[in-house]
């Protein structure tokens, strides 16, 4: 049974590409055969986040337009077995492909892979419609901010209107210290507002910046907290029951006093 999952958010900059890269690597480590598809035509980035930018020969549009065979465009990751990337075209625009062509492409990729992960562009225009066209399910990435949660709600509505029965949520960049102080929305608060199922929470982790700089997804780093969260999410996507990481942090007495003096 193979599955195509689109990773989307509405808002840009919440961590869709990072999520796609990390889940791809984590699923492959678990022994799945995975292909990551960069559907952000014209603004590709999954290649650099994965550190595979120097190995691109053909891209998604080349495949769709018949300039090369699908297999020729797939870049094999040398760090993990069974992991492939289909890069987006950088010089074309999002109208270069149609939802029908994407559907066909997804069907072809599903034949040879357990998981097809589609990195969706920001926005709700043609690029979004293309990215969701051939997907079986959807994962929505948000951060604990008003603008990102609002867009996640809008995307949920659009996905449901397109026939996705149960989109799942990843809350990214949660800062446990800020939540403890009451300065950031907490997980139950966000879930209460969005009313969709949670598939994972990724704590804010400076290592993500380092990993993106290097082109090595954080799941490859054992000590990374975000990497651990992504490994857990990957196992949940495979159908395992994995308990959520404890991200609650207590404010120390000293911090509490400082805060009260400042605000009181």
């Amino acid at each position: 049974m193979s599955e195509t999952i689109v990773i989307t958010s509405g808002k840009g900059g919440v961590g869709k590409t990072t999520t796609c890269a990390n889940l791809g690597v984590a699923l492959a480590i678990q022994g799945c055969k995975v292909v990551m598809v960069d559907a952000d035509i014209g603004l590709r980035n999954l290649d650099v986040v994965m550190g595979l930018e120097n190995r691109i020969v053909y891209d998604l549009v080349d495949v769709v337009e018949g300039y090369c065979r699908l297999r020729q465009a797939l870049i094999k990751d040398k760090r993990v077995d069974g992991l492939f990337l289909l890069p987006a075209a950088q010089t074309k625009d999002k109208n270069a492909v149609s939802p029908e062509q994407m559907k066909e492409l997804m069907m072809a990729l599903k034949e040879e892979h357990d998981f097809v992960l589609v990195d969706c562009p920001a926005g709700i225009e043609q690029g979004f419609k293309n990215a969701i066209a051939g997907a079986d399910s959807a994962v929505i990435v948000t951060t604990p901010e008003v603008s990102a949660v609002r867009d996640a709600d809008r995307i949920t509505g659009l996905l449901e209107a397109s026939g996705f029965s149960k989109p799942e949520l990843i809350i990214n960049r949660l800062k446990p210290k800020m939540v403890a102080r009451g300065d950031m929305m907490d997980i139950p608060g966000i879930l209460d507002i969005l009313a969709i199922d949670l598939v994972g929470v990724v704590p804010d982790d400076e290592y993500i910046v380092v990993s993106t700089n290097r082109g090595e997804p954080a799941v490859l780093q054992e000590s990374s907290r975000a990497g651990q969260a992504y490994r857990n999410i990957a196992r949940r996507l495979m159908g395992e029951q994995v308990p959520f990481m404890d991200l609650t942090e207590k404010e120390s007495v000293w911090e509490k006093i400082k805060r009260m003096v400042k605000l009181g």
Binding site: E145, V146, V149, R150, D153, R154, G157, V179, G182, D183, M184, M185, D186, G189, D192, I193, L263, G264
Partner: protein, 94 residues
């Protein structure tokens, strides 16, 4: 926005309150064409009974006490004869 001790509401609660409100508006958003159709249907219904000034019609959403309301302001020029009669036969004739 101050609580019992005169302290400001926690930022996370401000965020939640603002989100609830904005999502309510987003979720109730209606396409402009639908709004126009709704407006035309309302005008048609009311015109059976009263003569109205079509140029002065206002038909919009307003947020009242954290609830969305459809507010219509329709200037009436005159009441049609028989239009507000309690006589059922008079109404049926329209």
């Amino acid at each position: 926005m101050l609580n019992w001790f005169g302290r400001k509401q926690a930022p996370k609660d401000v965020a939640k309150d603002r989100l609830r409100l904005v999502l309510m508006q987003d979720r109730l958003a209606v396409a402009p064409q639908t709004m126009e159709q709704m407006r035309d249907d309302v005008i048609l219904a009311i015109s059976k009974y009263v003569e109205i000034d079509r140029s002065g019609i206002e038909f919009t959403w307003k947020d009242i006490d954290r609830k969305r309301a459809l507010v219509a302001s329709i200037p009436v020029i005159s009441v049609k004869r028989g239009g507000i009669s309690n006589d059922r036969t008079a109404q049926r004739s329209y």
